[in-house]
């Protein structure tokens, strides 16, 4: 197609030059032909303008003035005629309708014109003040009904992180076993690598796999791990994913039944480590930070990273639970600020102070209605 530098595209030139006869040429006008025939002349005119406008919008060009089109030489005019002929011959402007499952505003409902209203009591308003506002798209996307389920965020891991220590330990063992199996078969390729959670059966199969751990942490998988590889290779089923859940009590019992040596399994191999970390994220929702992942070299380290005792909020609480300070006879730890009143109470003077203050009808705490001591600022040299 020939390009003319002064005109961005042939279509734009067509758009600008066709302003006068837009309804006849535009594809949108063709679509509305039936409607035009059945409407009043005013509506038809309105529609024509709308069509011209919409055509310009579909072609995504800026509106060129008519004078620009008139300046094109005969060569350009010929090209335009050719283009117009092609369009009239049936070539359609490609539809820009976006395929989406979002609910967006469609269909315009037009109110009857005031002249068409037959109700004798109807009086058209002269100003917009006090009229009820109908429609509008201001808050369209605020309505959750206008959003489809496909637009909801779906993370790789579960939305809620697993926090129970026993469950985390069980899931870590499963992740480590599956990571080891994945590493063993990684060269063969995995169709659905470490993505599928599976149901209860898959989980039990993975947890039943026995692992022999050498002194240096090298793990050797015993029999019955091939079904687990098959589970890992299974494609994701359609619909809601099946998730295996285990209760904290069951998890505790299960964790006790294992030889604690499994926690010495080495994760120094980066392929295994990343596979396990990925599996951990899928199963528990915990993302192991890169900085931490670097320092994790055993399954025990991974468990320690995932299971975190709640941090004591106050230093006094921490001292009370951990520190040797509590046992020392010459140390006293107070959980809150020691106030002047506390100090008086410690030496047994507070009762007497209260009695004396009450006898004089003075406020016990604070200044009461007396305000601050005026002499204070004199003493401090502020006055």
């Amino acid at each position: 197609m020939r390009r003319i530098p002064r005109i961005p595209s042939v279509a734009s030139a067509l758009s600008s030059s066709s302003t006068a006869s837009a309804p006849a040429r535009s594809a949108a006008a063709c679509l509305l032909k039936r409607d035009i025939a059945t409407r009043s002349p005013r509506t038809t005119q309105l529609r024509s303008q709308t069509c011209a406008h919409s055509q310009r919008r579909y072609l995504s060009v800026s509106s060129r003035s008519l004078s620009t089109a008139q300046q094109v030489d005969t060569d350009v005019a010929r090209v335009l005629e050719e283009e117009a002929a092609v369009l009239q011959a049936g070539a359609q402007i490609p539809s820009r309708e976006i395929q989406t499952d979002l609910v967006y505003p469609r269909g315009v409902v037009e109110a009857p014109r005031s002249t068409d209203v037959t109700d004798p009591e109807y009086t058209p308003a002269e100003t917009a003040e006090g009229l009820e506002e109908v429609g509008g798209l201001a808050n369209w996307w605020e309505d959750p009904e206008h959003w489809s389920a496909s637009k909801e965020y779906v993370g790789f891991g579960p939305q809620e992180k697993v926090t129970d220590p026993a469950v985390l330990e069980v899931l870590t063992r499963r992740a480590v076993v599956e990571g080891l199996i994945y590493t063993r078969y990684a060269e063969k390729g995995c169709k659905n690598p470490l993505r599928e959670i599976g149901g209860r059966e898959e989980m039990e199969r993975a947890l039943k796999v026995e692992v022999d751990v050498a002194e240096d942490g090298t793990a050797t998988l015993k029999k019955s791990f091939k079904p687990v590889w098959a589970d890992l290779n299974r494609p994701t089923p359609e619909g809601k994913p099946v998730t295996a859940e285990i209760s904290p009590a069951d998890a505790q019992q299960l964790a006790k039944s294992w030889d604690p040596k499994w926690k010495t399994i080495s994760l120094r191999d980066p392929v295994t480590k990343f596979a396990v970390a990925k599996r951990i994220q899928r199963l528990t929702g915990h993302v192991v930070p890169d900085g931490k992942l670097f320092g994790i070299n055993t399954a025990a380290g991974l468990v320690a990273q995932l299971i975190k005792p709640p941090k004591p909020k106050k230093l006094a609480e921490e001292i009370a639970t951990k520190s040797e300070l509590v046992s020392l006879p010459n140390v006293r730890v107070f959980p809150r600020r020691v106030t002047p009143v506390d100090k008086e109470k410690m030496v047994g003077r507070w009762k007497i102070i209260v009695q004396e203050l009450e006898k004089r009808e003075l406020p016990v705490v604070g200044t009461g209605n007396y305000g601050k001591a005026v002499e204070k600022k004199w003493i401090l040299g502020k006055a």
Partner: protein, 137 residues
């Protein structure tokens, strides 16, 4: 409440016969929230247990002082107090300050111009083992 000395017939010489540490109490204040207390919180957790165990004659009180810088207040048997602000200090720097308070006499700081200070000056001067006839042991 300070210890008031009884009217005494002879002047006590601390360190002659017995030594009484002049610092009798230390108040250790910290804040749970403020960053300037980070070192102090570490000091309380890691160093204070050993320090307090090594000084059973000093009473330690640990209490929060919210929204304030951490301080150590030393109380002395002469009735005076000495407070040191330890904001933004590391635990080991705070230990130095605690040792300073422990070793202080509680008196106001005075300019020291002479190597030996005495409340009962000797007319013969300071005894020296390197002068005179020597002593046969």
């Amino acid at each position: 409440m300070t210890v008031k000395a009884l009217q005494q017939i002879s002047t006590g010489r601390n360190g002659v016969g017995a030594f009484i540490l002049q610092c009798k109490k230390m108040d250790i204040h910290y804040c749970d929230w403020a960053g300037s207390s980070r070192g102090m919180n570490g000091f309380i957790k890691s160093i204070l247990p050993q320090f307090a165990a090594a000084h059973p004659q000093i009473e330690f009180t640990v209490s929060p002082r919210p929204s304030k810088h951490p301080i150590i207040v030393g109380h002395y048997i002469n009735g005076r107090e000495k407070a040191i602000c330890v904001r933004n200090m590391e635990p080991l720097q705070i230990l130095k300050k605690a040792e300073l308070l422990r070793d202080a006499s509680g008196e106001k700081l005075k300019r020291v111009t002479k190597p030996v200070q005495s409340i009962n000056d000797s007319v013969r001067g300071v005894w020296s083992p390197y002068h005179g006839n020597g002593m046969q042991v």
